[in-house]
């Protein structure tokens, strides 16, 4: 991919050794196998700050991750930069953090999306996806291939799932809610 021909960057992340946490890399592998023109695919255990430099070279970025509590089979959510500081001591960053770094450090303006694929089993070591997670993965791959072919992405938000914190998290990093 070059700056003259911005394409789609898919970042699939998660730990394939922790069951359904491997959904992101599994999606990356499935898309990579299709060798789609204009599509760059990366897989990693987790997002890192240098991913921001890659965002500066693409027109659209899709962060693909397992979702432990979201709707089935997957959700597709538009992402905006975050003003939240990076967390306490981790070397892992959230999609909004990477996007923010890309915007602030490299002047990037990619269209950014989070693809959350619903998973169910995370609390053990094992290199396999649960049956339901694999079904959800297939649906996500099918959607993504069609969307990239059409050159257009849109919000996908099936009903269901468990309420959870906003992934863009604009909250005070030290959460104190005195009663």
């Amino acid at each position: 991919m070059t700056p003259e021909a911005p394409g789609v960057l898919i970042l699939g992340y998660g730990n394939p050794g922790r069951l359904d946490d491997g959904l992101g890399p599994a999606l990356a592998e499935a898309i990579q196998a299709r060798s789609l023109p204009g599509v760059t695919v990366e897989a990693d255990y987790q997002l890192t700050v240098e991913d921001a430099a890659e965002l500066a070279r693409c027109g659209t970025v899709i962060f693909a991750d397992a979702d432990a509590a979201g709707p089935e089979p997957f959700s597709m959510t538009r992402l905006e930069p975050s003003s939240r500081p990076l967390s306490f001591s981790t070397h892992s960053v959230e999609p909004a953090d990477v996007l923010t770094l890309a915007v602030e450090l490299f002047g990037a303006e990619p269209e950014a999306w989070v693809l959350g694929i619903r998973g169910y089993e995370f609390d053990a070591f094992g290199e396999r996806l649960s049956e339901r997670a694999r079904t959800n993965l297939d649906a996500a791959v099918q959607y993504l291939v069609a969307a990239m072919s059409a050159g257009k992405f849109q919000e996908v938000r099936p009903t269901g799932g468990i309420n959870r914190p906003d992934p863009t998290g604009e909250e005070d990093p030290w959460q104190t809610d005195s009663a």
């Binding site: 946490d21 070397h91 450090l105 995370f122 609390d123 070591f125 030290w174």
Partner: protein, 479 residues
């Protein structure tokens, strides 16, 4: 007391098995009587790899930690070298592994310094948390922030060229490696090495200047006398990939004098304490009370005699001069030591890229098969121990790992205790100053809770304040 009715509500954290928690116990006069840094540990990885064939282990152990998979990959590979009887790797294999390891150290140290600790140094510990973060650095020091990302990216490119893919990397295999460095890969990396050297020098200058200019303030901050342990090369040089176990005490007296690390169980053991899932390693001969030790950049610069690259050696001499050549026990000096190692890693990468052995084709050796092996190396955060037993069906039947953050468990507890005593100041609440200072003290060690807990994910920090009866009177959590 009035604050006893105050309740802090904590937002639940999903998909996080491991986190750090600080509890501080006060007496009736609100003076600190006890403080503890807990890490909720998820152990199960050792069982996970039991029954797997030994040659899969260097790949499987990368699942332990998304932060330092290369360290686990290489420590396991070193152990499996012994299993396959490879007592001496080929020059190409050893140098490729070293290149991979220096790439890992470069990217890890760069990320920690530029994006996690530089806000503390550039803005001060007492700066508002809303400013004391990478966004604040971007606003006021944009060049520094870009350099951090690009140094990290370069280190990752070194890893990719030596290990293959980011996930399922297979560069190191039992007895050697599975690829050399092509001329094209070498030239790509050489193209930017001059820039990386310049930025590494700049990062070292920031860390050194800060420490020297604020020496009065940082010398006592979270500091305490301690033992220090690391691998050291036989001639006394700093060596991040291989060496003997060497330990000194707070005064510089030698405790372990270049002992063979495969005998680590003769010298190191781990204590279990009822309030923590994470173990507390200590040097056997000194016992649990006096035998705990620090690992990581500060420890390495205290145990080695010299550094075998010229610019890092010059920086090392300046570093040692601050304490008159004696052991440096200043917790905040970890940052300066880490940047000396960053420059050393960049120098080493440059040296290796110019070495034609990297294009050699003799990649693997084998010998007499063994059934037990120990592999150690100096990971970015400190000494990493991997120990395995393999049966005659080539299956792993025992695995024991001691990660760097576990070795730094007691030192981090000591640092938190010091900070708590210095900053609670009779108040029965968690002040912003206490929060900031606890955070800064722990961060100096660059703890990898993912490694220590064997879980991937974010690492929130929780602080609890307990009254004399053990009742919770204040609690805060940083995601």
């Amino acid at each position: 007391m009035a604050t006893a009715t105050r309740r802090i509500v904590i937002q639940p954290v999903t998909r996080v098995e491991g986190h750090g928690k600080v509890t501080i116990l006060l007496d009736e006069d609100n003076q600190v009587t006890q403080s503890r840094f807990h890490i909720v540990e998820f152990r199960g990885f050792e069982r996970f790899i039991q029954g797997r064939p030994y040659w899969e282990v260097p790949v499987l152990v990368q699942r332990l930690c998304g932060i330092c998979p290369v360290s686990h990959h290489l420590a396991a590979a070193k152990a499996m070298d012994i299993i396959v009887g490879a007592d001496q790797l080929t020059p190409t294999a050893e140098k490729m592994r070293r290149l991979m390891h220096y790439g890992q150290t470069l990217q890890s140290h760069a990320l920690h310094f530029f994006h996690l600790c530089s806000p503390d140094l550039l803005f001060g510990f007492d700066a508002p948390v809303a400013k004391r973060n990478i966004i604040g650095v971007i606003a006021e020091y944009p060049d520094l922030a870009v350099q951090g990302v690009m140094l990290r990216k370069y280190g990752q490119e070194v890893i990719k060229a030596t290990a293959g893919k980011k996930i399922h990397g297979t560069g190191a295999i039992p007895g050697g490696i599975n690829k050399n460095l092509s001329i094209a890969e070498r030239d790509t990396l050489l193209k930017d090495i001059g820039q990386m050297m310049e930025w590494s020098r700049g990062a070292l200058k920031v860390a050194k200047d800060y420490t020297v200019e604020h020496l009065d303030a940082v010398a006592d901050f979270g500091s305490f006398p301690s033992n220090h342990l690391s691998l050291v090369r036989a001639d006394g040089a700093l060596d991040l990939y291989h060496g003997d176990l060497h330990a000194v005490d707070a005064e510089g007296n030698v405790i372990l004098d270049h002992v063979d690390y495969t005998d680590y169980l003769d010298y190191i053991t781990e204590e279990v304490r009822p309030w923590s899932y994470m173990k507390f390693p200590f040097i056997k001969s000194l016992g649990p009370e006096k035998g705990w030790y620090r690992v990581g950049p500060l420890a390495r610069l205290n145990t080695c005699d010299f550094i075998d690259t010229p610019e890092a050696q010059a920086a090392f001499e300046e570093f040692r001069a601050v304490t008159g050549g004696k052991t440096n026990n200043i917790t905040m000096a970890y940052h300066w030591a880490r940047m000396i190692e960053l420059l050393h890693s960049t120098e080493k990468i440059q040296e290796l890229l110019d070495d034609p052995d990297l294009q050699g084709t003799d990649l693997v050796v084998t010998g007499e098969r063994r059934d037990e092996a120990v592999g150690l190396l100096e990971a970015p955060r400190g000494t990493l121990f991997h120990h395995y037993k393999v049966n005659d069906r080539d299956e792993v039947v025992m695995a024991n790992l001691i990660v760097s953050t576990t070795s730094n468990n007691e030192p981090m507890n000591q640092a938190v205790a010091k900070v708590a005593r210095d900053h609670i100041a009779g108040k029965a609440e968690i002040t912003e100053g206490l929060l900031n200072h606890v955070e800064v003290a722990i961060r100096a060690y660059d703890p990898c809770l993912s490694c220590a807990t064997h879980a991937l994910g974010r690492m929130p920090l929780e602080i609890q304040l307990l009254d004399a009866n053990g009742n919770l009177i204040d609690r805060k959590l940083k995601q």
